[in-house]
């Protein structure tokens, strides 16, 4: 289930999207990049930061994120021997408390990319 998808073709700089997560049982979610060029271009960089807040009006604070300093990772062998498609995935679990998340992508060099957010 791709709950949110943003596509920023040739974007440079940063983009962000926010989403409310309702209270419920502990669960996990993942964010995955979509891009036709990132997996094979080692010069590309991508920074993803996920922030959260628990009450309206509060400042967003860091939750988790990652920095990817080189694209071109398609074909690498990773966990469980799986061959990576080179598109970064990041995920985390949480305790089920309701929150609003803000996903910020920073892209120094413009390229075609998108992002999906999926609750598991």
């Amino acid at each position: 289930m791709a709950a949110i998808q943003i596509v920023a073709e040739q974007m440079r700089g940063s983009a962000q999207v926010e989403r409310d997560i309702n209270a419920g049982p502990a669960r996990s979610f993942r964010l995955k990049m979509t891009s036709p060029t990132f997996p094979t271009d080692a010069s590309l960089q991508f920074q993803l930061d996920v922030l959260q807040r628990f009450h309206a009006g509060e400042e967003f604070v860091n939750w988790f994120g990652f920095g990817l300093t080189n694209g071109g990772a398609a074909g690498t062998v990773g966990k469980d021997g799986a061959v990576s498609d080179g598109l970064p995935v990041v995920g985390a679990s949480f305790d089920g408390r309701a929150r609003r998340i803000r996903v910020v992508a920073t892209v120094p060099t413009a390229f075609v990319w998108g992002l999906t957010i999926e609750e598991i």
């Binding site: 860091n62 469980d80 080179g86 970064p88 990041v90 995920g91």
Partner: protein
């Protein structure tokens, strides 16, 4: 002595060069972070935005042909949300970070015994570690297809990709060797013991609050 588990946070990324998590300790809390990164030749480093000095708990441990595991700990010097970043060397690849905050650590040498193991089939099982004083925190983390904690353990951090940590608090005087197990398949397990504060009372030492039925107000 008594421990409290305050918070657990896990996250993973692939293929990435670093992964961040956030934790909110109070001054004096023990923060334990385990990490696994691919491939088996990479180095892992940890830092946080509050400038803590991190000590190694589990030294770098290699699962040949696959990944490395390592853990660190520190005593919180701030009472605020901190962002912890683990960075791997080499090409972007799979990286997971499992962090926990515990209250009740000994105000001296905290780290006790550590060990690690790998296996091609489950259940994930650590080598035995030896408590030295009783009342220790036993912390373990494992990489791969975990579905449940082992007997006697509570769930710690979960990265959302079947990599978990777990923990248990030993009773005072319990210095029997301990192992950690998980329910899962092929594995890479880290285990470490941390000494508890002997000055911190057991829950049973805390005066009980007796709840009484409210008196009925008579007209």
């Amino acid at each position: 002595m008594a421990w409290l588990a305050i918070e657990h946070e896990g996250a993973f990324g692939t293929p990435v060069s670093s992964v961040q998590i956030t934790l909110t300790p109070r001054v004096g809390d023990l923060i334990v972070v385990g990490s696994f990164g691919f491939v088996d030749t990479v180095d892992l480093t940890i830092a946080d935005d509050a400038g803590h000095t991190w000590s190694q708990a589990n030294p770098q441990h290699v699962r040949a042909g696959q990944d490395v595991g390592e853990s660190w700990y520190t005593r919180a010097t701030v009472s605020q949300l901190i962002t912890i970043t683990v960075t791997k060397s080499g090409a972007a690849q799979y990286l997971t970070v499992l962090g926990s905050v515990f209250r009740g650590a000994y105000n001296g040498t905290i780290l006790g015994d550590t060990d690690a193991s790998t296996g091609g089939a489950g259940p994930p099982t650590s080598p035995a570690v030896t408590p030295v004083a009783g009342g220790e925190l036993i912390w373990a983390a494992t990489l791969d297809a975990v579905t449940a904690v082992g007997s006697g353990y509570l769930k710690g951090a979960d990265d959302g990709d079947t990599d978990w940590s777990e923990y248990r608090f030993l009773a005072p005087g319990d210095v029997e060797n301990k192992i950690a197990t998980f329910v899962g398949g092929a594995y890479h397990v880290l285990i470490a013991t941390f000494r508890g504060d002997p000055e911190r009372p057991q829950y049973s030492d805390i005066p009980k609050v007796i709840l009484q039925k409210p008196h009925r107000l008579e007209a």
